[in-house]
Structure formats: C-alpha cells, structure tokens
Symmetry: C2
Subunit: 282 residues, 2 copies
Amino acid sequence: MTDTTWQYENFERTGSAIGYRIVRKLDEVQSPFQKIEIFETTDWGNLMLIDGAVMLTSRDNFLYHEMMSHPALFTHPDPKHVVIIGGGDCGTLREVLKHEGVERAVQCDIDEQVTRMAEKWFPELCERNTDPRAQLLFDDGVAYMRNCAPGSVDIVIVDSTDPVGPAEGLFNRAFYESCFRALKDDGILVQQSESPLALLDLIREMRDEMAKAGFSALRTLPFPQPCYPTGWWSCTMARKRDAFDFREDAARGKRFPTLYYSAEVHRGALALPPFVAEALRA
Amino acid sequence: MTDTTWQYENFERTGSAIGYRIVRKLDEVQSPFQKIEIFETTDWGNLMLIDGAVMLTSRDNFLYHEMMSHPALFTHPDPKHVVIIGGGDCGTLREVLKHEGVERAVQCDIDEQVTRMAEKWFPELCERNTDPRAQLLFDDGVAYMRNCAPGSVDIVIVDSTDPVGPAEGLFNRAFYESCFRALKDDGILVQQSESPLALLDLIREMRDEMAKAGFSALRTLPFPQPCYPTGWWSCTMARKRDAFDFREDAARGKRFPTLYYSAEVHRGALALPPFVAEALRA
C-alpha cells in the first residue's frame, strides 16, 4: 500500500492516542468556530477532524449515533418532539427520524460548515435532512435551550464535541437547567459522556451538574466507539422523574434496522460493570 | 509533562493505530521466541510489548483477563481442571484461581521470559503463581494439548498473541482437534478472538475451524479492551455439547471481587449486536 501515511491524535487527558492510515486529505474548511478537515482512510472510509480531534469515520459512527438516540427514544413513553444540540453531521438526526412517532426533530448546531461537510463527505448520514419533520438550525445551542418554551420538549440530545472550545457551555448546571425547564415532566436529556474507563471524573462531574439542575434519575450507558479515546465511550441519560422505564417490547418490535442497537444490547448497556458503578456511586 | 514521548502501534490489518504517552523504557529482553519490552507510561502504568505489539497495560488488562476466564468458568457446570495455553503474564491464571472449585490450573506458555517479565513489572498479576493448585509450564502449547490425556480437562483457555509468529499454530483445526480430544464431554474451549468490528473475518475463520474440529456450539462475547486494535475485543467459547448453560446464579453469588465481570455484564455480552450476529451467521 504505497503513498499512505499514518495520522495520530494524541489525547493529553488520557495519555493515549488513536491513529488511522490515511490515503489523502479530501477537504478542509476554516469556519468561524473551528477547522474542519476530511481525510480518506484505507479502512475506515472518510474521517472528519475538528481542530485536530477525530469526530467520526464512515465505518464506525453507527455505534455512537445509534446509542445517542435509540436508548432515550425507547425509554421515553412517547417521544414526539426531539431537540438535538450539536449533531451537525446529521447522523443522530437520521436515527431519531427512524422513529415514526417523532413529529418534530430540531437540530441546532452552531457551525453550519459541519453540516455542509457532512452533506458532501458523509451523505448517508444526511439522508433524512429533507424529512419534513426535520428542522436544521445553525445557532448557539445554549441560547436555543434557554429560549425554548418551558415544558415543550420530550427529548434533548446533546451531541457535541468535548467540553473545550465551542461546546464548553454544554457541560454545566446553567445549560442543564435550561434543558430541565424546556423538557416536559416525563422528558429525557441525553448527552455523550466520554470514556467510562479513562474519563470517569468527567462523567461524575457531568452527572453532578445534571443533578444540581434538578434531574433526579441518571443512567450512564457504555458502548464501543473505536474512534474516540480508549475506544470505549458512553452516553448519560437524565430524567426529571425518578423512573427509568425501558420500553423493551417496543425496542424488540422496532420496524427499522440498526447495526449495533437492539433491545438486548440496550439491556446489556444498563448493566454497568462493577468498577464503573462504584465510581459513579462515589 | 516534560521528557515524555508518544509511541504508536500501527495495525496493518485494521488500518488503525493505538498509542501511549511514554515516560521511559524500563526493560527489554530478546527471548528465543520474541522481543519483550516494558515501558512506563504516564497514565496506563506499565506497558508490555512483544515484537512491537501491545500485550497489556497495568490499567486495562483486567478487562481481558476477567472476560477470558469468568464467562467460561461460570458456563461450565463444575470446572475443576483448567488448562491455559499462552497466558504467560499470569493474569488469566490469577482469575481462574479465584474460583474455589478449581483443583488444578496448568499454564503452558512457550516463552518463560514473558512470565519473568510479568513477575518483575506486573507482580499483581502473578500473585496466585504460588497457589498449590497452579502449575506453570514453559513449553509448546500445541504439543501440550496433543499429548493431554483424552477427556481429562474441563476448560482450555487459549490466551495467546495474534495468529502470526509463535501463536500461529493455535488458530487451526488440528489444534482445536487436540483440544476437543483433551476436553471432557461437557468441556469448554475459550480463545481470544480479535476485534468484532474490524476483524470479523478472522473470528469467522476461527469459528469455522472450531466447528470442523467437532465443537457444536459457539458463542462470541465482545468486551472493551482499549489496548487492542479498535479498543473492542472478544473471546469465543466452544462446547462439545450443544448447550450453553450460563450458571447465572453462581455468577451473581460469586465470593470474589471483579472489576468488569458481573452476571449482568456476562448476560449483556451474550447479546451480540445485530451486525456482529449477522456476520457470524453468514
């Protein structure tokens, strides 16, 4: 395999790195917020970096997108109105719109260029963008949630980059309070919550902030995600009410295909490994 | 953090890489079989490389060692005699000997230097080496299994490097036939089986060879393992009889601590994600 190079991302916080064998750079844009680059890899399809950090690859993004959406949508009793904060690659939106009961899905990403690059290089993730139920906004997610009508939203999905740079404001009590207010009483907030092995401190901080904002029930679900630090990632769901009813029959009978998600995988993800459970109790 | 460097392992077969932030090299030995190196990392404790391939780190080896042992031992009705082929770091042996019912555990690694390095740099993994039920052999695992008395072993655990170099002979029908013969009728073979995302072909080949050797029931269990390609790994269990009874009550009531393994995690690992299940059916 000639003319390939290896490109690495060093994660300072975990002391580990992940890399890919690259064929060439396909595209690059400097938006007002960040630098977005697209590479062609030998084995992982296209690769998107934002400010040097791996966002997704064609091959493994299904893990993340399915786990950011279906567990929450099969926990909420009847999700109709979903808001996605971030999620500019549109992969989470695509999964959300597989649920026929969803009447409206708003995606609010601050950076329009992420979506433009996704349309160009990850068109399969954007195939639901023209669904009449979808609304794509390019705006500040913090302000969007602050201005949401109280009690108007069923599910908020925070599909953002890490808590540095543009996404920093999406990981604190003030933002979670906006989400709490915008959600109906049976609403659910779900957020990507970093590595359950190497970044447990960060998960704990997030959960603490969510609890301070009034959320009374929290669940962190681990899942594999090769392109993120340690290859093991998680999402955290927060409910206003202290009940986590998984609609397992609905998940089992779902009428759309998924690659990673299933009722059994969902059930499995709810069973935290002992060391994670202990760390989150502490 | 001055004076640290980043060291990467490029996985040609997956087109991806994993790296660590290194403080210094601690040790190195060239055995008759392979080159073993030990590094101090900033965040992962000590790191062992064999011929440049990451074998384990202090911090995350518990995932692998627990999943290579407890699922098989809590599936077999009454495991008394366990053979570990490879496993020279002694971490699997340690987990096996946590089971009080085990009367004899033989570890047969071809390379004594792996164990010597583990004793020096991963002493916590070797804490059961002096258990009177343990027997450490440094010999050819293929020959060991070929010469085993027929119907004498309850569980064979193949805890080897990848199917290149010294371990190549541990991934084919002839070896599996030796294991089949050595096992009692209710015996179980379990082997590390690579990445369920990037190396599904290899898992399929292994399973085919196991089936040709006479094993009639197979189960592949995925688990996170950050230090191996893609950070997502698996073990595959094979039984002579077509029944896979998980002793869930025993697992739930186990009297030793584990960090990753639990009855619920075991149950979760048995639920293969749809894309893996489909690939293994094909």
